[in-house]
Symmetry: C2
Subunit: 192 residues, 2 copies
């Protein structure tokens, strides 16, 4: 039974990524797995509950990933690359972030909590990197602004790529690392 639960989450993630959540019903997931609707409803009450569970999984995965031990510039961009890997793996979430946030209250609660934690982490991180001399000295306003930029950027980049008429693929998503480097690099101590 536990196996079915995992299969449902994996199939739903794939189908949502391929077609968007609006185009995928619980019936489609059942068809994809050749299981009965009853088997699905044994684990999840609704499609939205599946979406929320996938979202929670993504956050758990992120929070369980180890953070770099020593502040250094490579580990900074390594973290960004990891972020973009998650963006790709769960791309439906970031393509539909605004709509999901508005529509599903459970999603909103989880998102708000995670966002608060991430923004705080990024601020601490910037402070540490500034103290370690990797970033130049940053004042509190700069830290706050830069943290919001660093958080905002990947969050909406998938939605942007679609309105830019780009095909979403690992290549176009990875380009973003180059763009964020352009934002961050001038703040690094050795730049210029």
């Amino acid at each position: 039974m536990k196996d079915n639960r995992e299969k449902i989450l994996a199939s739903a993630t794939r189908l949502f990524n391929e077609r968007g959540t609006a185009e995928v019903s619980t019936n489609h997931i059942c068809e994809d797995l050749s299981i009965s609707p009853g088997s699905l409803y044994y684990h999840f009450r609704s499609k939205d509950e599946i979406i929320v569970m996938i979202f929670q999984r993504m956050i758990d995965k992120w929070e369980q990933s180890p953070l770099p031990e020593e502040p250094c510039i490579d580990s900074l961009f390594f973290m960004y690359e990891r972020t973009f890997r998650y963006l790709w793996e769960y791309r439906f979430i970031h393509r539909e972030i605004s709509a999901l946030y508005k529509r599903i209250s459970e999603f909103r609660i989880i998102f708000d909590k995670a966002q608060k934690k991430r923004l705080k982490e990024i601020q601490i991180f910037l402070g540490d990197y500034s103290k370690a001399g990797i970033f130049r000295a940053l004042d509190q306003t700069e830290i706050k602004n830069l943290a919001r930029t660093i958080w905002f950027f990947p969050l909406y980049w998938m939605a942007y790529l679609e309105t830019e008429g780009k095909n979403l693929n690992q290549k176009t998503v990875k380009e973003s690392v180059g763009i964020i480097k352009n934002i961050i690099q001038p703040y690094l101590k050795k730049e210029q």
Copy 2:
């Protein structure tokens, strides 16, 4: 009759801004103006046609606004402030940009065309400002990346503020100018 057309566009903009396009029907617009559905349908075939017309108006307004004659740093931020004034005036468009882009093909056509023009303009602009010594020397990749950043930022900032749990008001929207300054300033020649 022409008057009614303008009144419909103004009422629709206000109602869409207040409640979002999904919550506003053509009937609501008629009620707001105390006109019959027939009067509205004389001018517009559907709600989507009204949305598209408002969007086209916003773009026309932008394109008719004069660009700064001489490259200087004040005119750069003046342009950004003007952009954020439009963001506020037509805030429903930017709050719902991904959804409108996917749902309404006419919207998508207008958006794609405008986006191409804006991205090109921003690149030319960055080149000019770099040549004029306001920005430091920028290579083609930097110009392209920076242009996408500068365009992406205001485009999705309204949607972001909502998922940040912020009330959308002129103050929170204007904060964005500070954030974009942080992105641009390091590229200015006199910085650091």
